[in-house]
Subunit: 504 residues, 2 copies
């Protein structure tokens, strides 16, 4: 049935606010004067901006002071060299306007659903933690880039760079009140402070899954299975991405062989993680300063180049834990049915100090991007926080690289706003009636965009299209007096008069 | 049919890791030594703790430095007066263990679903913003408690105390690229820094809904409707909670009447918001310092005591905007069907400087709790950030008071972990087979807790009960050789052998 609009519905309604709205345009150059309470220690620097710059200012009468020690009655002090601030979010951070938020929600929803399919429970921790939680062995990139500061009570605090230390803290706090194994996941914002601008952000969101209390490699196998389940859900295959697998026990066995002190282990791992990022000469120098002989260094580098378990067995023998763990993992991968996603790569050590066993890293097969995710076993983390150790493993999966990859593969989902109904009165007198209709539909579980001003029908149709409404419901005088409204199905143009109490 | 377990399934499997796990208990008193790189400006103070205290320490060999300027090679400096840190989250912040996270997710899910029913789009902003965004008129509690600091690049930044300034920033940034009205919602963590401990937290989550571009009171009516929809969803009625409504234009008209300068308006509002919190003498003194005569003050206080629109009309006359806005809002409330939730109360002004028109506050009728939520119109906020003003209104709804209220009314939902299946192999050799079974079920959309170690059946049943599993699926040798597994429905005890490829 073709759409036949009731002619009475086609009258354009001019509204007293319409002109006001359309002239209320935003000028990015609009400025006022800015006065600030002077801070002796503080220098205001403009954020580097792309093109537009915006200043915040106050009128002469506005008494503006910083939040440090504000009170109502003390007089404001003028700050002379006030500079502009930007309407952009702080450097390295993001706003999430609706289109970006839809993508974030889609990603997080997939993280959540996979985690729940694997029986994991969601947890979270404060984004602000005591700095002491992140003070570990030096050398980790994550440590050097800690977003730390002193709070107003002179405590050293930090925006969390990762979630695992908080998890460990909570596990110790809970003590025996929780039954093992714990299977916990979290999705949280993590921060790092980089002095240089490399186009990298200072915050990202990270999905973590952790298993506490399982010493067997079955735990690592389960974690990798969950990531692969996630990859498959969002359309990635084993030809797009893979996992490089190794174990830190490989290094440990080499170090033991050459009598390198046990306490150098974490440090050596972090040096090795920098291979490919800094010159080999610097790597060798750093290893020397970690009490390694030249012979040991060359042997270590040779072992790190191995790409097959058979070759590793030739080097290390068949009896060590490194090899048996890795063999067990690859054997479980077969049973799970994800062997084709995995490859042994002895050069993988990961950049965190606390890993002790299996380590893994998700990568794109085209080799264009940084690691997609990474994880491993960290059986000795809890004791560094004063707890008794528990076997543990987990992974972190950021929200940045995966989105780059999906974009490149054309796999980003189309996520449009969709509101089921748009409800509009045809007469200012009927605004309340339109509210009543919207309420009825919402009580039946429908979503409704209620037009809150008297607008021309042309405007309403444009908005209906923008929000992908399925139906346009017009509340006009003639119909309303019969207890009816005009319901237009926008995909077909079909239009019906329906009793208000029969709306579904 | 009564449950008859196959006797072969009843053998208890003793596992080599079992003893290891059960002895790996957590001691909250366990300590190590802690060494820290010395900071000249830094004093470490212990967080006040309830009972247990925990220290983080490093072994003599662990080289620990702060993140300020860490690098691999420079030597660590010992810090002599190292004190303990706590396994509790920083003072005033929360962890979210699974049970608390389930409640948070339930709450947020209701926020989201209501917002979507009203056609709002979700947005978010950085939790860390430039401090300048919050530098407004002095006197606001939110300003005085700003969680601000200097970052490593000497920029003044703050953990956001509220979401509205970020929203305004984004709206200005987007400029004409967005079509009005915007209907945006956000759920974000907000921070405040209180020096005193009053049992109040330093962070909370806040649900915000904002309408940008609608000058009419229809926008406020829609916002209040959405909050009421939320209240109803979670089981609250008009006899549990209500809204106190006023308009700042009431004050404005009184101030104009007594020739109080326009620029004192925000300041007067904030003073008035403190009525009931600080002595009346101080209120009077503060109002005097805001250029108000004693006569004007007494008149103002009298107007503020009004609780009916009729009385207000007697005072202000029928012609002002204050009265017409309020009348329109109460008239719309009738059409929406939520009149019984509202009451006029001239004493409501809200504590934020930027409100300009209607203000409202959700309260519990027993009067035991602080405001549940609050909002209003802020038509002149954008120009304080250098943008052109747009008509705007919104509300903030915290996650603290509502939970207190639900607890008190016995309305907190029971939210238990629920994993549909627990899958367990009866033999360590069959661990891989159990993984395969778990994978099959997960591919069919089921959630599965896979037992990752060889555990006694008694343990497995206990875990099944804890996770509220519907089915226990046992992978035993005899069945597996026939391509079958043992499926036990836990509510009935019914037990069946099912072909693996027929599992649903």
């Amino acid at each position: 049935m073709p759409a036949i609009l009731n002619p009475s519905l086609l009258i354009l309604h001019h509204h007293h606010h319409h002109a006001r709205l359309s002239t209320a345009v935003l000028s990015l150059r609009h400025r006022l004067n800015f006065s600030l309470f002077s801070h002796s220690r503080t220098s205001f620097r403009a954020y580097s901006t792309s093109s537009s710059s915006l200043s915040i200012e106050s009128s002469a009468n506005q008494k503006v002071r910083t939040g440090r020690s504000g009170s109502v009655s003390s007089p404001p002090v003028e700050y002379d060299n006030a500079e502009k601030i930007d309407v952009n979010p702080p450097k390295g951070t993001r706003d999430f306007p609706p289109e970006d938020m839809r993508l974030r929600n889609w990603l997080f929803q997939n993280f959540r659903e996979v985690s729940k399919q694997f029986g994991f429970e969601e947890v979270d921790f404060p984004v602000l933690e005591s700095e002491a939680l992140y003070i570990r062995k030096a050398g980790e990139e994550i440590r050097d880039q800690l977003y730390c500061f002193e709070d107003r009570g002179n405590r050293r605090v930090a925006l969390r760079p990762e979630l695992t230390p908080s998890l460990a803290r909570l596990v110790i706090q809970k003590g025996k009140s929780v039954s093992l194994p714990l299977k916990w996941f979290a999705i949280g914002q993590c921060w790092r402070y980089e002095r240089m601008t490399r186009g990298r952000r200072r915050e990202h969101y990270q999905w973590n899954m952790d298993i506490i209390g399982v010493p067997d490699v079955t735990a690592e196998a389960e974690l990798i299975s969950s990531i692969i389940t996630f990859f498959k859900r969002i359309g990635l295959t084993a030809s797009d991405v893979g996992f490089k697998i190794s174990s830190r026990k490989v290094l440990q066995e080499v170090l033991r062989c050459y009598s390198v002190p046990e306490n150098m282990f974490g440090r050596v791992c972090i040096i090795i993680d920098k291979i490919g990022k800094i010159p080999m000469d610097d790597i060798r120098k750093d290893l020397q300063s970690a009490d390694m002989s030249d012979v040991a260094i060359e042997e270590l580098l040779q072992v790190l180049s191995l790409k097959s378990l058979a070759k590793l067995e030739e080097k290390l023998g068949a009896s060590g834990e490194a090899l048996s763990d890795l063999k067990q993992l690859f054997s479980l991968a077969e049973k799970y049915g994800y062997s084709e996603w995995l490859q042994f790569d002895a050069s993988i050590v990961r950049g965190l100090a606390y890993y002790t066993g299996i380590v893994f890293e998700g990568f794109d097969r085209e080799g264009k991007l940084r690691a997609i995710c990474g994880g491993g076993r960290y059986d000795r983390l809890l004791s560094t926080f004063g707890g008794d150790d528990l076997p543990a493993c987990g992974f972190g999966f950021g929200d940045a690289v995966i989105v780059e990859l999906l974009k490149e593969r054309g796999l980003l989902p189309e996520l449009n706003l969709q509101v089921e109904n748009i409800v509009c009165s045809l007469d200012q007198e009927l605004q309340g009636a339109a509210s009543a209709v919207a309420t009825i539909l919402r009580e039946k579980g429908q979503s409704v965009d209620l037009v809150l001003e008297n607008k021309p029908l042309k405007w309403v149709f444009k908005r209906a299209a923008r929000i992908n409404a399925r139906r346009l419901i017009l509340v006009g005088n003639a119909e309303w007096q019969k207890g009816m409204v005009n319901v237009k199905t926008l995909s077909t143009g079909e239009q019906l008069e329906i009793k208000v109490n029969e709306l579904e």
